[in-house]
């Protein structure tokens, strides 16, 4: 039970990172982006490549930082991967979403995102193979925190949680303390009025993709670090991340953070009563529950 709670928080931090970007893009561009979770895969694989590169350039970089399995090269790779994934999110928007947007149909965007997800996922599979990969082949033993109740935690998991919280805190500072943060919130509130006040809307869209992609990359790397990397990573996480945004209320960044943790906790706690095979269905149950109890989520506003 305690183990499920702790695991839930850890998974939750990853979902939160993914959900922040999704909720921002969904709010601003008004479409359910089914390809967002593929950004996590891009991030995870990009970091895998950079990690290998750095390790090859300087062997010292490939040394693990005890007690983690995380290496210095992977830390550097994480930062590069965040930038690259952000850029690829911008590129996808330029190549596909922006043009579909220009043709009208909000709903065509949803379907376009289906197509984009399909393309990204399978190209990753073609490049890196369908078998799961790991950042480190070393076996990192979990630390027994307590025997009664039994609780195991891997050092990497603690690092992931701390790093995710740190990233979210930085984002919070940016949103609440900088002009950019104000403009972002203004655009989310009322795009037309924001434009009248001299905010460049298309630049904000680019920035949102950059941030969303960056956060997704971090989530993907953390997921890879605590689980494994595979081409179906995006497919497996798309529903939990959507659930997180719906729990928090579409458009609410803080809601997405909270939603991520709630979905992570609920999915792991559900394992106490349900066989693990059913866990992919849990996010759907959460979505249903939210739609029945509070259709606009915890912090969402009523808007159709």
């Amino acid at each position: 039970m305690i183990q499920n709670l702790v695991d839930g928080v850890l998974v939750g931090s990853i979902l939160s990172l993914g959900a922040i970007g999704l909720t921002m893009a969904m709010h601003m561009l008004r479409f359910a982006n089914f390809s967002h979770a593929e950004l996590l895969s891009i991030g995870a694989y990009a970091a895998l490549v950079f990690d290998g590169l750095f390790g090859a350039i300087h062997p010292a970089l490939a040394e693990a930082i005890p007690p983690l399995s995380l290496t210095w090269s992977l830390t550097l790779a994480l930062l590069l991967s965040m930038a690259l994934t952000g850029l690829s999110a911008v590129a996808v928007d330029k190549l596909v979403f922006k043009r579909v947007r220009a043709k009208g149909g909000e709903l065509s965007m949803v379907f376009a995102s289906f197509g984009v997800a399909m393309i990204i996922r399978n190209i990753l599979g073609l490049i890196f193979g369908l078998n799961p990969k790991l950042y480190s082949q070393d076996i990192v033993f979990a630390i027994v925190v307590s025997r009664d109740p039994f609780l195991l935690i891997k050092p990497d998991q603690v690092f992931t949680l701390v790093a995710a919280l740190l990233i979210m805190f930085i984002l919070h500072l940016v949103l609440s303390r900088t002009t950019f943060g104000y403009s972002l919130r203004a655009v989310a509130e009322n795009p037309t009025l924001a434009q009248v006040s001299g905010i460049n809307l298309s630049r904000m869209v680019v920035l949102i993709w950059l941030i969303g992609g960056g956060l997704a990359a971090a989530a993907g790397v953390f997921y890879g670090l605590t689980n494994q990397i595979s081409p179906v990573l995006g497919r497996d996480l798309v529903l939990p991340i959507f659930a997180a945004t719906i729990v928090g209320g579409i458009g609410s960044i803080y809601g997405a953070v909270l939603g991520g943790f709630l979905v992570g906790l609920a999915s792991n706690l559900a394992l106490v009563i349900l066989p693990s095979g059913y866990s992919p269905a849990v996010p759907f149950l959460i979505i249903l529950a939210v739609l029945i109890l509070r259709p606009h989520g915890l912090f969402g506003e009523e808007r159709t």
């Binding site: 197509g115 579409i250 979505i287």
Partner: protein, 315 residues
């Protein structure tokens, strides 16, 4: 020669079954503007419903009620309708993303539940279904031909039903709501109720397709209700032309032919190590077809014929 003909019958049967599903989606998306991201859930509900209601009893499995075939097929359609009604009731009033996400979710949940619940066949799927009239028609070519005729009749019936429906006042109402919800509401119409009706009706049609599919193979398993099927059905509609029933059917035959042909070509000509990735290559190709269509010809190969008003049409 008989081999070719029998393959063509096989191909046409599957394509016709899928056409029915695409027609159902066309009612939801093309005529009403509802995004259904989980077509397989309704297709699957019809398939599982039909086999459970019409099958013979199996140890440890729910069902085997052995209902007469047409009743079982109808029961499968009702199952699909019930699932659609529950999902629709919860989401149809909200902004459109919710329906997209919830339907996507119901498909994931459906597959998960079917895969893990042994009473519903589990990963092995549901067996022990006797195809109707098998004793009279045998198992061979005659049966397949007769079944194809049956599917074709149902496809034509569905087509005519939907054509009549969209010409009817209800069809006009659907388009009115799709184009301008507020205007429709100001005329005293209830958009959410009409949309729910259309959503459930479309899903029942998908359930019919699922029931036929399961009958054709006398078997259904979670492997048949993977998300890729949703995607294929969507691709068929987008390529054919949303809003146009003729386009929907044409798109289905076109995409299904391209899909089977590319699969065949890859297995025939590609080197062995590439063949492992046949699925991935096909998915990438179909992904590009979709995105390309949306970018360059969003109205599809056979665009919807827009009618400005009845009086303009009669002029």
């Amino acid at each position: 020669m008989i081999g070719v003909i029998s393959y063509l019958v096989f191909f046409a049967t599957v394509a016709s079954i899928l056409s029915i599903a695409v027609l159902g989606l066309n009612l939801q998306w093309g005529n009403t503007g509802l995004f259904n991201g989980g077509v397989v859930a309704f297709f699957g509900a019809g398939a599982y419903g039909t086999l459970i209601l019409g099958g013979t009893p199996q140890a440890g499995q729910l069902g085997g009620f052995g209902l007469p075939y047409l009743l079982a097929l109808l029961g499968g359609m009702v199952c699909a309708g019930i699932v659609a009604w529950i999902v629709g009731l919860l989401t149809i009033r909200l902004r459109h993303d919710y329906l997209a996400i919830a339907t996507f979710g119901v498909a994931v949940a459906f597959e998960t539940v079917m895969r893990n619940t042994d009473a519903l066949g589990g990963a092995q799927g549901i067996r022990g279904f006797e195809r109707p009239l098998r004793e009279t028609l045998g198992n061979g070519f005659t049966y397949n031909l007769a079944f194809f005729a049956f599917v074709l009749i149902l496809l034509i019936a569905t087509y005519l039903f939907l054509e009549r429906l969209i010409q009817s006042p209800f069809g006009r109402l659907l388009r009115a709501i799709r184009e301008d919800e507020t205007a429709a509401q100001s005329l005293g119409k209830s958009p959410s109720r009409v949309r729910l009706t259309s959503f459930v009706a479309g899903s029942v049609i998908m359930g019919l397709a699922g029931g036929l599919y399961a009958t054709f193979y006398a078997f259904i398993s979670p492997q048949d209700v993977l998300p890729i099927l949703t995607f294929q059905i969507w691709a068929m509609l987008i390529v054919g032309g949303a809003g146009n029933n003729k386009g929907a059917v044409m798109g289905t035959f076109l995409i299904w032919a391209a899909w089977t042909a590319s699969g065949w070509a890859l297995s025939r000509f590609a080197p062995l190590e590439v063949q492992l990735y046949t699925g991935s290559i096909q998915f990438v190709l179909i992904g590009f077809v979709i995105v390309g269509m949306l970018l360059w010809r969003p109205q599809g190969l056979f665009p919807e014929k827009l009618v400005v008003s009845q009086s303009a049409k009669n002029k």
